[in-house]
């Protein structure tokens, strides 16, 4: 029974974690799907979201849930402004140009945060009391984070499915030229998409702030995990990102339990390379993405 208890505990914690990972990967995959840009500054958007939640909690005594809600419009504006003001000025069709550009953007944001804030580790102590659910016990912030991640993901999918903007985003993702010919302003769609991606990263950042430590260079680790997940799920596939995120959360929880957290990170990169070798288009990838 003891083994079954441990397995159940690892699966539950893994799924809690996985919903959060899926949320990070969702934003990355969305931006890639619409404009073929792999946003290497996604982790930095997450870091900004984490600091918004942290400063809301430490300075204004705000409930982290409220801070996360506030961070959504802020991050949306930041993202849309970066797309409209910077990314639209470069050659968006050249994948490598946009990669290098967002790499520079990530370095600039991270460097500015390290200079302006400080490089110390911060954390938010919120809902840290433990609950016992029979076979296992965990602190309350984990189901809280899970709840936020699930609600945000559902709201996002509902937005994509039922609103006009969502329809425009899906159309642009499928074929930008035809979307343009049908009267969709693809430039605005790209701005909204990038803003949404940043907002999703901001929510994920708030969750990361509740669960883990906050520091200016925190983004890279999440970016790399999100990239592994996006590749697992198939570049540009949103459902794939969520499913792969949950799977990745479970795998990582098991890896951490049986080895160490450092080894678990290395395992993640090994998984990435294996997936790239065996199935470059990802588990849910569109077969035309290799073209």
């Amino acid at each position: 029974m003891a083994i079954l208890d441990i397995l159940a505990e690892l699966v539950v914690i893994g799924v809690f974690l996985g919903a959060f990972y899926g949320l990070i990967a969702l934003g990355l995959s969305l931006v890639f799907g619409v404009q073929n840009v792999i946003n290497l500054a996604h982790g930095e958007f997450l870091m900004i979201g984490a600091y918004i939640t942290f400063f809301g909690w430490s300075i204004f005594d705000l409930n982290p849930l409220l801070s996360i809600v506030i961070s959504v419009p802020i991050m949306f504006v930041v993202g849309a402004a970066i797309q409209g003001g910077l990314l639209e000025r470069i050659d968006l069709d050249n994948e490598l140009t946009t990669l290098i550009f967002t790499f520079g953007l990530a370095l600039a944001i991270r460097g500015l945060a390290q200079y302006a804030i400080n490089v110390d580790y911060q954390s938010i102590s919120f809902l840290t009391e433990s609950v016992d659910v029979g076979f296992t016990a965990f602190s309350l912030n984990r189901p809280f984070a899970f709840g936020i991640a699930v609600i945000s993901t559902l709201l996002f999918f509902a937005f994509l499915k039922y609103t006009d903007w969502g329809k425009a985003i899906r159309a642009t993702s499928q074929n930008p030229e035809i979307a343009r010919a049908c009267g969709i302003r693809t430039k605005r769609v790209r701005m909204v998409t990038f803003g949404l991606g940043a907002a999703l990263a901001g929510i994920a950042g708030g969750i990361a702030g509740i669960l883990y430590t906050i520091f200016p260079a925190m983004g890279l680790d999440y970016l790399l995990k999100a990239f592994v997940i996006v590749v697992l799920g198939g570049l540009g596939s949103l459902v794939g990102a969520v499913v792969a995120g949950v799977g990745f959360g479970v795998i990582e929880t098991f890896g951490t339990w049986y080895t160490s957290s450092t080894m678990a990170s290395i395992i993640a990169f090994v998984v990435l390379i294996l997936v790239l070798l065996v199935r470059p288009q990802g588990l849910f990838g569109r077969s035309d993405s290799g073209e």
Binding site: I38, L40, L86, R89, I90, D91, E95, L96, T97, L99, I100, F101, F103, G104, L105, A106, L107, A108, I109, R110, G111, L112, Q114, Y115, V119, L220, D221, L224, F227, V228, V231, S260, T262, M263, S265, I266, A268, F269, L272, I273, L276, L277, P280, G290
Partner: protein, 336 residues
């Protein structure tokens, strides 16, 4: 005199064309003499400069070496390596462990570092290089992070001493390190010059412009990329060894630092990717700024060079050399 009048008689006023004619008029002996004079001048500099200036110049030449190493794969083929610091760090560790634990002389340690980094780098990246450039770029970024983590992991701690790193007394003085950096920089610069003029250089540029088309025309793209990866990682390994001698210690966060990825990228992009003079121009433009910022504001360093990368991509996506060629200030030659 004869060549000058002939260039005037062509009545082409552009500076690029005049340089073109002038370059053509130089014989092999002229070029060799020019190169020897340049190297002699660079090697004589420590006689008139103080230790601090020699150290700064060492950093410039070290980064020119690293820039050439990055350029030879990423500049020519367009396969962007965001994990270059991983190779630099690996080379630094191999060098220091060879010297400290095995008592190997410094020059042999550098050779070992170059060869082992080249082999390990090629083996690891061989599967990834078959894929699209974007996958390669991010896989390398995560590999460098994994490498840094691995150096301080429990499994490698007996060899690498974990996060605290290894200190040692380097066998080379600052001046000797500077000589070594100059010789290496001239060596890799010359190799890049030969590559740029060769059919192989053209094949590599073809991979960058359109890989599918290049392979349809008979370029063995994976083999070409792997060959360049060998050189690319080897140069990074030797550069890392040189860096370790200069620091007189290694630890994971220093030698795997982002600085050794971001600076070669911004240098090469600013100068023009896949060019011969690019890394030199980029090195002279950025390394003095980098050195000044690095000493006093290491966090602003990252900010500044992040902005620099963005500005170069926005306003000079093809680089300075290409811009000068477009304006007619430089001749259209692949060997520049």
């Amino acid at each position: 005199m004869a060549t000058e009048s002939s260039s005037e008689s062509k009545s082409d006023p552009s500076i690029g064309a005049r340089i073109d004619n002038r370059l053509d008029s130089f014989s092999v002996v002229h070029r060799l003499l020019g190169l020897v004079a340049l190297v002699a001048l660079l090697l004589a500099l420590p006689q008139v400069l103080n230790d601090y200036h020699v150290q700064v110049l060492f950093i410039v030449f070290l980064f020119i070496v690293l820039g050439y190493g990055w350029n030879i794969l990423s500049g020519f083929t367009g396969y962007i390596n965001f994990g270059y610091a991983g190779f630099v760090g690996l080379g630094a560790y191999v060098t220091v462990i060879s010297v400290v634990d095995f008592g190997i002389p410094w020059y042999a340690a550098l050779v070992i570092a170059g060869i082992s980094t080249a082999i390990i780098g090629t083996l690891i990246s061989a599967p990834i290089l078959r894929l699209d450039g974007a996958y390669f770029a991010i896989a390398m970024l995560s590999l460098a992070t994994a490498g840094q983590l691995a150096m301080s992991s429990d499994y490698l701690t007996p060899i690498t001493r974990g996060g605290s790193g290894i200190s040692f007394f380097p066998a080379l003085s600052y001046t000797e390190q500077y000589y070594l950096a100059v010789v290496l920089a001239v060596g890799v610069g010359y190799a890049t010059y030969r590559l740029a003029k060769s059919p192989r250089g053209l094949r590599l540029l073809a991979i960058r412009e359109d890989e599918l088309l290049a392979s349809a025309l008979g370029v063995k793209t994976t083999r070409e990329k792997l060959t360049m990866m060998l050189v690319h990682a080897g140069i990074a390994g030797i550069g890392g060894g040189l860096l370790a001698f200069n620091l007189s210690y290694v630890d994971p966060s220093t030698v795997f630092g982002l600085r050794y990825t971001e600076l070669p990228i911004v240098m090469v992009l600013f100068g023009t990717a896949g060019s011969v003079l690019g890394p030199i121009i980029g090195g002279i433009t950025f390394i003095f700024i980098s050195e000044a910022l690095w000493a006093s504001f290491p966090t602003l360093h990252q900010f500044f060079f992040g902005i620099a990368i963005m500005l170069v991509v926005m306003f000079m996506p093809r680089g300075l050399i290409e811009r000068l060629k477009d304006r007619g200030y430089l001749p259209r030659r692949r060997s520049l």
